[in-house]
């Protein structure tokens, strides 16, 4: 029995060695994302961001070739992501783990990154705790509390409302969003007059909207996933007369994605949303990015997911340059801490303490520009940190 274990170990060490020898002139990045299933569109936008960065900056960094290996989780599956991370490391010999469309994927892989001491770049998943799971994790997207706590404060101080009602989809991000918004709003002095959670299934908001109408709040904060839900909610609100300027509608940016605005039509006008990236923001870096992205993707516009992937690759490239091509996780983390750059989203910094993003939170309003409804930036809150790290 022991002879067998020894034989197996010898073989294993041999393989690991050969993987390392191979790694001297190429750097392998394993991408773990939900390429198939209901979140495939998000993953594809992230991938397009990654591809665009590599197309613009070449696939060589610090004299080494970058090789990408893609793995599909099919959805929010922690066990699948963990297995894929293990396989990427032991079978494919990857040096860096990246991607992560959804929080369970990132949490599943975090333990592996920690155990194998691999640099891990979270390019989308947005729950605060992820970066606390291993000292080798850096995030380039955002967190839901980061946006919505700042947004709640803004709504009271500059949005001109004293009380609000929250309606969020009944899943973890929705609950996080309503908690964060309520915290920012009430800390500033506002009151939450009511809170509801709507089911994730087929969208029928009439009962919820009626309850909101009965409470007649000055504003409604909503957080619902993209897809079929935003237009259905927009319609339900409009039918009962809950539209700006009579009742303010606040939401995180998914509610007013270009496709959603199109299907909501005029009922979208005046909705105020928050995001960490706005495609319409007039800025030379952003304009060039949007143009290049559309050219590379048959006219499809970039969104926050694309920017998360794009900036994630930027972080990996710059960190590798600083380490001179070394893929040692501790060195890469050290290189990333405090790194700051001008991204299409504006200025962003990797917080040296939490390895999370410090960035500008944009407040946008749906307005008509040249006969087209679009998100127009009406305010900017600079240098916002995630409020939950270190709060416990």
């Amino acid at each position: 029995m022991f002879a067998r274990i020894a034989a197996v170990l010898a073989l294993g060490v041999g393989l690991m060695w050969s993987a390392q020898a191979n790694a001297q002139d190429t750097i392998k990045i394993g991408l773990i994302m939900a390429y198939s299933g209901p979140f495939a569109d998000t993953a594809n936008q992230m991938q397009a961001g990654i591809d665009l960065y590599m197309q613009q900056h070449g696939d060589e960094v610090a004299g080494k070739k970058i090789e990408i290996i893609k793995k599909d989780t099919g959805g929010p599956k922690a066990d699948e992501a963990k297995r894929l991370a293990q396989e990427l490391i032991v079978r494919d010999g990857v040096d860096i783990l990246a991607g992560f469309t959804l929080t369970p994927e990132a949490l599943g892989a975090a333990a592996v990154a920690d155990q194998a001491k691999k640099f891990m770049v979270v390019m989308n998943a947005a729950t605060s705790i992820i970066t606390e799971k291993s000292p080798y994790i850096v995030r380039t997207s955002m967190t839901i509390p980061q946006l919505n706590t700042a947004f709640g404060k803004w709504a009271y101080e500059k949005g001109g409302v004293k009380q609000a009602y929250t309606l969020v989809a009944d899943y973890a991000p929705g609950v996080d969003a309503s908690t964060a918004f309520a915290k920012g709003f009430t800390d500033a002095g506002g009151t939450i007059v009511g809170a509801d959670k709507s089911p994730m299934g087929p969208p029928d908001f009439s009962a919820f909207v009626q309850r909101i109408k009965d409470a007649s709040p000055e504003a409604v904060f909503v957080f619902i996933p993209g897809g079929a839900q935003p237009p259905a909610l927009g319609k339900a609100l409009a039918e009962r007369g809950l539209t700006p300027p009579n009742t303010q509608i606040f939401a995180q940016g998914e509610l007013t994605f270009p496709e959603a605005i199109k299907s909501m039509g005029d009922t979208a006008k005046g909705i105020i949303t928050t995001f960490n990236y706005t495609m319409e923001r007039d800025d030379p870096i952003n304009n060039a990015f949007v143009k290049a992205y559309r050219d590379a993707n048959k006219g499809r516009s970039p969104d926050i997911y694309s920017v998360g992937g794009y900036d994630g690759m930027h972080l990996i490239y710059e960190a590798l340059k600083k380490t001179g091509g070394s893929t040692d996780a501790a060195a890469l983390v050290k290189a990333s801490e405090g790194m700051s750059w001008e991204s299409p989203r504006g200025k962003m910094v990797i917080d040296p303490e939490t390895r999370d993003v410090i960035q500008t939170v944009y407040i946008r309003k749906v307005e008509e520009v040249d006969g087209q409804l679009q998100n127009v930036v009406i305010d900017e809150i600079p240098d916002v940190k995630d409020p939950l790290h270190g709060a416990k």
Binding site: L15, R83, P104
Partner: protein, 328 residues
Amino acid sequence: MLNARTAADPHAWLRRQARWSPWEVVFWLATIIPFYFFPTYLTLASQVAVTALFAISVDLVLGYAGIITLGHAMFFGLGAYFAGLLTKTGWGEPLSGLVLAGLFAALIGFLVSFIIVRVQHLALLMITLGLGLLTAELANSLGWLTGGTDGLQGVDVWPIFSRFEFDLWGYTAYAYALIVLFIGVVASQRIVHSSFGLSLRGVRENLTRMPAIGSPYRRHLQIAYTISAGLAGIAGAVLTQTTETVSLDSLSFQRSADVVVMLILGGTGRLYGAILGAAIFMIARDQLSGMNPQYWYFWIGVLLMVVVLVVPNGILGGLSRLVRGRGT
């Protein structure tokens, strides 16, 4: 199928059915191959073993007792969450956790079985589907307990016999999952090759005739369903313990549906069909999604159609017809 001689001595016939065939010995020897030749595939192999055990649990009710189910992930997930939550109370010993998770799932299975045996066909399909969806939604709304869509955090499983830690390569995970699978198969074989197993097949073939020959079919179905739920719970617990993660996905409809696809691929009503189906499905998925992460499910669909059209009894059914054996 029964000729005059075997009918004269049913016990001898049952014993002959239960005897190990050389094919089975070869199969179990083959399961050791990954340790030596594919050490980088061990984590995949351990998940194949877990899925195969789950498929066997479904085969017991679907293939043998004829209970159509689209909600068996319910028991898989209950076992998975039970094992995960148990470690969070401070008791991370895997073997006792496994047994307790199995018992818990079996208990729930027993309670549910009172409803299950009262309905058939489409109603049965709807009941199992509905129960599965309800359980998944329950786990989602009990966020304080299950972690909701983020999955359960802080699962900490102790090394087996305080000695074999679950390593990055998956040596322990595969060995553990394989041994549990082996025990599960041996136990299931004892069940299906007993007079109880025969009566289950009787229920599947002709429900109205079983009471006529004095067989209490409802009780038999309840026992079968309870055992199957327990086995599914054990499979879920092994997944939790080998990956130290539990997410809502373990309760999802997708998992219930996938396992039925595996059974159709491998062949229902034969335990090794469940194992073969699980292995083919998981390995095909790994290879296809490696080649094309976006559209690999297309090829699973093609495979399923080809199997259903060409070998309606599943791949193992087709093979056993080819070799004219009994088809273990």
